[in-house]
């Protein structure tokens, strides 16, 4: 453990920072539905809306982890439901590669998660966010791949 993370871990009320990449057509609408239905979910996520889960470059996820996020959620339409027909299938392949790489660089599997949420699933969206937040809380602050001074 490097020194610069100590204040974080010692802080009893440490809250993880999680970034969520949500596809415009399904997951973002699902999040919206959760909001208008007043379903409660942990406020730890910061949402970035993307046109399609296929838009997500693995570099985005790595950059988030490098910049100090503790977890990353990637969410898109169910297989077969993609607004652009096949974007989420490509996303799944990219994610499979990324997962293998994350394993190698020693980032715990629970930190980066991939989930399908449709526009009608406000309830599921809340559950997914809760699960990701719980998983990341258990793992604690993320190690960052930055050089030690």
């Amino acid at each position: 453990m490097s020194e610069h993370r100590k204040p974080n871990t010692e802080h009893r009320n440490w809250q993880p920072k999680i970034i969520a990449f949500l596809c415009n057509w399904c997951s973002y609408a699902g999040a919206d539905l959760a909001g208008v239905s007043r379903i409660q979910y942990p406020p730890n996520i910061r949402v970035i809306r993307v046109p399609c889960s296929g838009r997500i470059n693995p570099i985005f996820v790595l950059k988030c982890l490098q910049n100090g996020f503790d977890g990353v959620l990637v969410s898109g339409c169910y297989p077969g439901d993609c607004h652009y027909i096949s974007g989420n299938y490509y996303a799944r392949r990219k994610f499979a590669i990324l997962k293998t790489l994350l394993e190698f660089i020693g980032i715990e599997p629970g930190r980066v998660q991939f989930s399908w949420v449709s526009a009608g699933e406000g309830e599921k969206f809340a559950q997914v966010v809760k699960k990701v937040t719980d998983d990341v809380k258990k793992l604690g602050p993320a190690k960052r791949f930055v050089k030690r001074v």
Binding site: I59, Y89, R93, K99, L101, W116, F145, V146
Partner: protein, 373 residues
């Protein structure tokens, strides 16, 4: 059994004779191969059309000044060459070229590929300081190792020693070097395709039938698989984790030589050379505040991990990244390891078959459900 052309000369002279006859009989327009450029043993890839220059060709000089796959991609980037070109390349270079063609960075058209069962190459360091020439000790040691699996190439690069893809996958002709004890007196060239047979037709020599995958090759393969295990175990790469990676990549001086030499890194504007990669002054300030100090340049670890995501799926393991690294980072070992595990997900071997799509450019509707939650 494969059709084999046997020429009664040593391998170097045999291949030169074949190339000369191609040029003289106008079967090819040019020859692309390693050519001697001065007496110190320096060689460079050259494209030649004059049959008299064939004398200076050293087809299997154990040194890779660049990945020929990348060079061939430059030659055919905007369209295929008109005349047939005979290209003498190593198996990993051919695989790199095929991989680039899949990425629309070149054309396989009008090439006759002559490759070999490859004994590997010496490192850049050994080759450029003049120790390696055709009358040097390193040279005779190399050919000793090629003939005999027992003294398997003592000093060639670790990447080569651990390479099990020493037989080319899509070459028209394969010069049989590994395990062939008679390379000083005979030159055996296996004709793998109709194209190869057509070109060899009328060549001086005798046509025989022979099994390529012989006992000696099996021995080489086993040795190399063993060597790879040893390489991974010795570098403790499996146990690297984040701390190990930061320590290893922390040595990086940020020259980007590895991506410049990499045959798979073909982007004209690399994201890591672009403004996207730079930090805003405010980012520097936040980071200094959070961490009490930072190392500059800040992004070298991220650069390598990013490159692993970009290149991993197509890495052919040619080892040039390690060759050029001034900080002595074992890049090729890391890329080999990560490349293998990533390629295994899709059961993909880069550069094996030009018809097989790169996994990220295609998909199955029912697959990989284990990555979803």
């Amino acid at each position: 059994m494969s059709k084999v052309l046997k020429i009664d000369k040593n391998v170097h002279e045999g291949v030169r004779e074949l190339l000369r006859s191609f040029l003289e009989n106008k079967k090819v327009k040019g020859v692309f191969a390693l050519k001697k450029i001065n007496e110190n043993g320096a060689v460079a890839y050259s494209l030649i059309t004059n049959p008299n220059m064939v004398e200076a060709i050293l087809p299997f000089f154990p040194f890779m000044p660049a990945n020929a796959g990348k060079l061939l991609s430059h030659l055919t980037l905007t369209g295929s060459l008109k005349g047939p070109i005979a290209a003498v390349v190593r198996p990993c270079e051919l695989r790199a070229f095929v991989e680039l063609v899949k990425r629309e960075q070149g054309s396989l058209e009008n090439f006759l590929f002559i490759s070999s069962s490859c004994g590997g190459v010496y490192s850049l360091e050994k080759s450029v300081n003049g120790d390696l020439s055709t009358d040097s000790e390193l040279w005779s040691k190399y050919w000793d190792g090629v003939k005999n699996p027992e003294n398997q190439m003592a000093d060639v690069r670790p990447t080569c020693k651990a390479c099990e893809h020493f037989l080319p996958y899509s070459a028209d002709m394969t010069v049989l070097l590994l395990g062939n004890k008679a390379i000083d007196t005979e030159c055996k060239i296996s004709l793998n395709t109709d194209k190869g047979e057509k070109f060899a037709d009328g060549a001086k020599g005798e046509f025989i039938e022979e099994e390529i995958e012989n006992e000696a090759l099996k021995l080489f393969r086993n040795k190399r698989i063993e060597e790879k295990k040893r390489l991974f175990a010795e570098s403790q790469i499996e146990k690297f984790g984040m701390d190990g990676l930061i320590k290893t990549f922390g040595r990086c001086i940020g020259c980007h030589g590895c991506s410049n030499i990499c045959p798979i890194c073909y982007c004209n504007l690399c994201t890591f050379d672009s403004r996207d990669y730079e930090w805003e002054p405010s980012t520097y300030e936040t980071e200094i505040e959070k961490r009490g100090g930072i190392r500059v340049p800040p992004n070298t670890v991220f650069y390598h991990i990013g490159r692993l995501t970009h290149v991993g799926i197509s890495c052919v393991g040619c080892g040039l990244c390690s060759d050029v690294c001034p900080a002595d980072i074992p890049l090729s070992t890391i890329f080999l390891k990560v490349g293998e595990s990533v390629q295994k997900v899709f059961d993909y071997l880069p550069g094996k078959d030009v018809e097989e799509a790169i996994p990220l450019t295609t998909f199955e509707t029912e697959e990989l459900t284990e990555v979803e939650d």
